[in-house]
């Protein structure tokens, strides 16, 4: 009766460490795959940013999506953050970090846009101060 947990992943893995029995060649191959994917995504980003071929308002969305995808590639292939049970702690810390980052950025943009929207136009403020 195999438990699964008792096999290889009964102990946590430090962030950045690979849980892999393979040899050096296999690990280098992993980094090469990450490098290839990252180059592909970066090249697409730079191409999309300057092209006239797509609907212009979609470009910022495409750039953000490509950036998030590339961050995922770096996390998986370079930092070896995986979904395996030996990585639960690392993923949970990352999830909390992402939550705070999102709150900070979305919250700041939201509040500042709202304040900006509600503020009196600058020329009227100037007139009131006269």
């Amino acid at each position: 009766m195999t438990n699964g947990r008792e096999q290889a992943d009964d102990i946590d893995v430090a962030p950045g460490d690979e849980h892999l029995e393979g040899g050096v060649a296999q690990r280098v191959l992993g980094y090469l795959a990450g490098l290839a994917l990252a180059i592909l995504l970066t090249a697409t980003s730079f191409y999309v940013a300057g092209t006239d071929l797509v609907w212009q308002p979609s470009i910022p969305v495409a750039l953000v999506v490509l950036a998030i995808a590339q961050m995922g590639v770096h996390l998986v292939f370079f930092l070896h953050i995986t979904t395996g049970p030996d990585n639960t702690n690392n993923v949970l810390a990352l999830a909390f970090g992402v939550l705070i980052v999102m709150l900070l950025m979305v919250g700041s943009l939201w509040i500042m846009a709202n304040l900006n929207h509600n503020m009196m136009p600058m020329d009227q403020i100037m007139q009131m101060q006269r």
Binding site: N3, R5, E6, D10, I11, D12, V13, A14, P15, G16, D17, V24, R27, V28, Y31, L32, G34, L35, A38, I39, T42, S45, F46, A49, G50, I59, P60, L63, V64, L66, A67, Q70, M71, H74, L75, F78, L79, N89, N90, A93, L94, F96, G97, I100, V101, L104, M105, S108, L109, M112
Partner: protein, 221 residues
Amino acid sequence: MSAVTFTSAQGDAQALRGLDGGGGSGSSRGWGGPAPKRIVTGYGFWIFILSDMIMFAAFFATYAVLLGQTAGGPSGHDLFNLRNVAIETALLLASSFTCGLASIAADVRNKIWFQVAMAVTCALGLGFLAIEGREFADLVARGAGPTRSAFLSAFFTLVGCHGLHVSAGILWLLTMMAQVFAKGFREDIQRRILCFALFWHALDIIWIAVFTVVYLLGSAK
């Protein structure tokens, strides 16, 4: 019959409290005593990196809020040279790859390949810093220094902070090369290499956000 049930229930209760001392199997995570030092150190440094990213998030939010506040001065579209940014991105990405090769060399305790991979990483990082420094000097010379507008203050703070991180990373890199040269792959040196690799890869992740948000979105018309 009932005795069997009792025994198993008692066993479960003991397992829940961790009374079986982590079990000979060691399969019950968290009950087998303290984690190995490599995991403790790596995890602690992972927390530091995440808090560093939160600091960068604050700078990104500042930049995004101040993007339009150019005070009549030049905007990103007038200033940024995407060719330079593409070269910087390529250098940093390649350095992340060679840093990964250095981690593998450290794991198999190959001194020569470790030093070669680290030296290449260092050269690529210095190339990145040289291009960024030239870009900054060029901006200041054109009258678009950090004092010109709120937009440029936010730009120099955000990109300059990333550049400072890369500079600190290069100092750390040289320290690791010297320590491996002098002391070899000791346990504590290996932990420092692990943390350095985390730091360097994290810098590349932050650079993805920089070139997307600052340069590509900022130079849009």
